[in-house]
Amino acid sequence: MSSSAAPRTLFDKIWSDHVVAELGGDTSLIAIDRVLLHERTGAIALRELDRVGRPIADPARVFCTMDHIVETRSGRGDATRVPGGEALIRETRARATSAKIRLFDIGAPEQGIVHVISPELGIVLPGATLVCPDSHTCTQGALGAFAWGIGTTEAEHALATGTLRVRKPKTMRVTFDGELDRGVSAKDLSLALISAHGSAGGNGYVVEFAGSAVRALDVEGRLTLCNMATEFSAVTALIAPDEKIFEYLRGRTFAPRDELWDRALGHWRTLHSDDGVQFDREIAVRTDRFAPMITWGTSPQHAVPVTGRVPRQEDSGATREAYERAIEYMGIEPGAPMSSMMIDGAFIGSCTNSRITDLRRAAAILRGRRIAEGVKAICVPGSSAVKRQAEAEGLDRIFRDAGFEWRESGCSMCFFAGGESFGERQRVVSSTNRNFESRQGPNTRTHIASPETVAASAIAGRIADVRSMVS
């Protein structure tokens, strides 16, 4: 058998499509098809290029959005509660405009969280390389792209040269096989994986998600699954594109049309790992007995089923030091049932879980119910398009009637940049991706879970099992 006929992984195929030159060692110069920027880190890259007078190689393939520090209360303008934020927003606008890159500004119909709008607009495509100075760029691998987060200096390099110097990563396949119980979704798959293998479990690998449970996920569930790959310390994640992906992309703003669509489709159908190919590592998981998951501590690996308890140190997978720190920070007791924890806040939003299907699932729980007294609950749609769609379906009414605030799109309280937050020591159940210390505000206590678990917990006023509320 000639080497060109040797079986290859999906990742290998995309990689070899993009090698411009070999640089020695395991490092290659890789062509970058799409660069995405946002006002928080992208502005710095644009400023730096301007300072040294370097032009952008191909502005037509660079996109910028305003998501991280924008206000999300209605009637917003450039003003934001993030200190220094307004200046950064204005600077981003000025630099993006003079660099002639596409900008999805505050008030534009396309505006939204970068990893939500890119699939929505057909910016990310199967087989493409895409980078963004943002760690959750891995989300977009769900469409079969090699998409990964970089730093600002690398973003400058990608903008100026249309390439990056990349060391070829190892490959891992994670296969999820089996059915999913009602009330169990992609978020629970990822938390179960990270709690079993640690938040460093994917370090150094590009992870391909495969198996019947992954194929059964809709496109948005796949985006959620890949989103959490950075919490697994993977370089990124991807999923072989199939008919669901192609149907999803057809007709989107920046997706190919007509004859180009047919040619693209021909290429995309070759994008899968060949039979018999070897990965550097394989993990196989049965999903049939999965329960909704929730985190108890301050790392995404500190996750247990909602029906479970705070583990004892010996069973926690954490060192004594890390365990004690987490317990103290979270204000919880070893062995306490998760369902005993009263909550102060509920947040549905972020690039992990704020797409239309996420909002529909949460709304199905909230319909005809009210959140518990004293709980502050907020829903922030992932994009302006998601918000419009939700309003067209009447979901906003369900959220509001249940007692949720209904916001404009943005990252909002997924992270704290000095602006809005839940209060000190407030316990928040959140559909976001990071439960780090002070991530959602100074000394806030974040429990991450799926949007349906957030909705169920908001109603109960404490951490709750959504399965008791699905009909």
């Binding site: 370097r54 760690s135 200096t153 390099h157």
Partner: protein
């Protein structure tokens, strides 16, 4: 600082990245742990970097998966501005690792027991027990002369040693880039967009 999974929010909290610039960040380094109050500036005497014996340190000994979380390069800029030139840890988050190399901080991987042993030796007598790094030879040298070899990609080592501007370096490959674009445009025309 040997705990696992120290994330970039801990290295530099978002609220400390006020200027949106690459400088003015050293004060915010580890702010959540370093000061007694969030947003305050009164040093927490228990935090390792506030102890007088560690003043002026240039090497950070850290735990597994150091620099995980947000891709913010501010974490590396803050470490560099504070004075750090190297971090020794069992493993790093991939984005953080790349950011280090591009900002003159050597990210050095050594097995967990070795990092722990180095840390114990230093802690026993911080004034005398200094660790040095011989990047050229790829060795970490303890005060007692014990040498531990580490692996680093030849390309990244070169970047750290030479401090070359990577963009300039890549632009010398312009002919290869142009040739790639010409053939790729024919092969995958749908990738190329009009302005």
């Amino acid at each position: 600082m040997l705990y696992a999974n120290v994330d970039t929010d801990a290295i530099i909290p978002s609220r400390e990245m006020k200027s949106g610039a690459k400088t003015g960040l050293a004060d915010g380094l580890f702010a959540g742990w370093r000061y007694t109050q969030i947003g305050g500036r009164e040093p927490n005497p228990r935090f390792v970097l506030n102890r007088p014996e560690y003043r002026g340190v240039r090497i950070l000994l850290a735990g597994e998966n150091f620099g995980c979380g947000s891709s913010r390069e501010h974490a590396v800029w803050a470490l560099r501005e504070y004075g750090f030139r190297a971090v020794i840890a069992p493993s790093f988050s991939p984005i953080f690792y790349n950011n280090c190399v591009r900002n003159g901080i050597a990210p050095i991987r050594l097995a967990e027991p070795i990092v722990r042993e180095l840390a114990e030796k230093v802690a026993a007598n911080p004034q005398e027990h200094k660790v040095t790094i011989d990047l050229d030879a790829q060795e970490v040298v303890a005060h007692d002369g014990e040498r531990r070899r580490f692996e680093i990609d030849a390309h990244l080592k070169e970047m750290l040693l030479s401090g070359l501007d990577e963009i300039d370096l890549t632009l010398t490959k312009r002919p290869e880039i142009d040739a790639f674009l010409a053939s790729d445009r024919a092969r995958r025309p749908w990738i190329y967009l009009e302005t």
